[in-house]
Symmetry: C2
Subunit: 192 residues, 2 copies
């Protein structure tokens, strides 16, 4: 999706600034207000240098989303407890962090944006698969009972982490929340 002309070494810091600017503009204005010019202005670079790197605004936004959103595929701490805490932490960080509005906007609009919908669907499928693999490994290792509902455990973990990040006032948030959430849910799956 990106291309670099000869003799134009890319500056990773500029790339990061452009990526964050793209997420900001998309988060605030949605696809209707997403324009190369607005991203260039926000990043403090010329519009031409954006077009040197990305041929279209679809390519720019896809790149920014792929780089800026969480990636749970490489979570593997060795225990299901550790993996789920890592997953909950990533969700909380995402919805408290600089890509929060872009992530929410994406949930709302992605399906209707041509050129973004496909990439978004592929990202989601990969994430769902990775999250389910975490729980299945826990079952295989005997850490979770075989009848564990993978879907209920992940829906409540991911949804609970999102609610916490979006609704809990800053003064009531604790650094241990991801662990508390996981411990709470692992009680639910324990054989009684």
């Amino acid at each position: 999706m990106t291309s670099t002309g000869p003799g134009r070494p890319r500056d990773p810091q500029v790339d990061r600034r452009i990526g964050q600017a793209a997420l900001d503009v998309f988060g605030e204005l949605g696809w209707a207000g997403f324009a190369m010019e607005a991203v260039a202005r926000r990043a403090g670079v010329g519009k031409a240098s954006l077009y040197l790197r990305w041929s279209s605004k679809e390519a720019l936004l896809n790149d920014a989303l792929t780089t800026g959103l969480v990636r749970i595929s490489d979570v593997d701490t060795g225990t299901v407890h550790g993996d789920l805490i890592e997953l909950a932490t990533q969700m909380i960080d995402l919805y408290l962090g600089p890509a929060s509005r872009a992530a929410m906007r994406l949930n709302l609009e992605a399906r209707t944006i041509p050129g973004i919908a496909e990439n978004y669907a592929a990202m989601r499928t990969a994430q769902t698969r990775a999250a389910r693999a975490i729980v299945r490994r826990g079952i295989d290792r005997g850490e979770l009972p075989p009848e564990t509902s993978v879907t209920l455990l992940l829906d409540t973990l991911v949804g609970g982490a999102m609610m916490h990040a979006l609704n809990t006032p800053a003064e009531k948030r604790t650094p241990d929340h991801a662990r508390d959430l996981v411990d709470f849910l692992l009680h639910a799956v324990a054989v009684l």
Copy 2:
């Protein structure tokens, strides 16, 4: 917020159609695209008849949101199990129903819309209070242990219901899901 001139009896069906049209337009286009004209066109009524009822687009959207979104304040089935199933059902119905996009849009934009932000904040406070009262009544009746984390239980219930509605493919949804979700979470709070 609404007013009816003398000799102009309101037609509840027209009101409902306008309310749904307002939620549709807001859900699709957000506040940036929300205009009396667009709502009138969608509802199939004249723009003038909208202005007879609502003095501004803020008043129209506030009315549509107050009428069209869920209201958990009157949930009181007599048991915490029944109340939580009702709460989960309302969340699932909201995010599967015709106001789904408006509700998501509201989560994203409400804080930044003057004239909507206050009403939205008041609605959320009332809903949070009603949901917490459900769990507290369960503790008072001895159905839940006194050390139950009200916040964790509600975050995972509401977040889990939302994830289910937004992510589960139609062919995998079951009418019993709200009950399964509540039973799963009540295991988490049971004393082990």
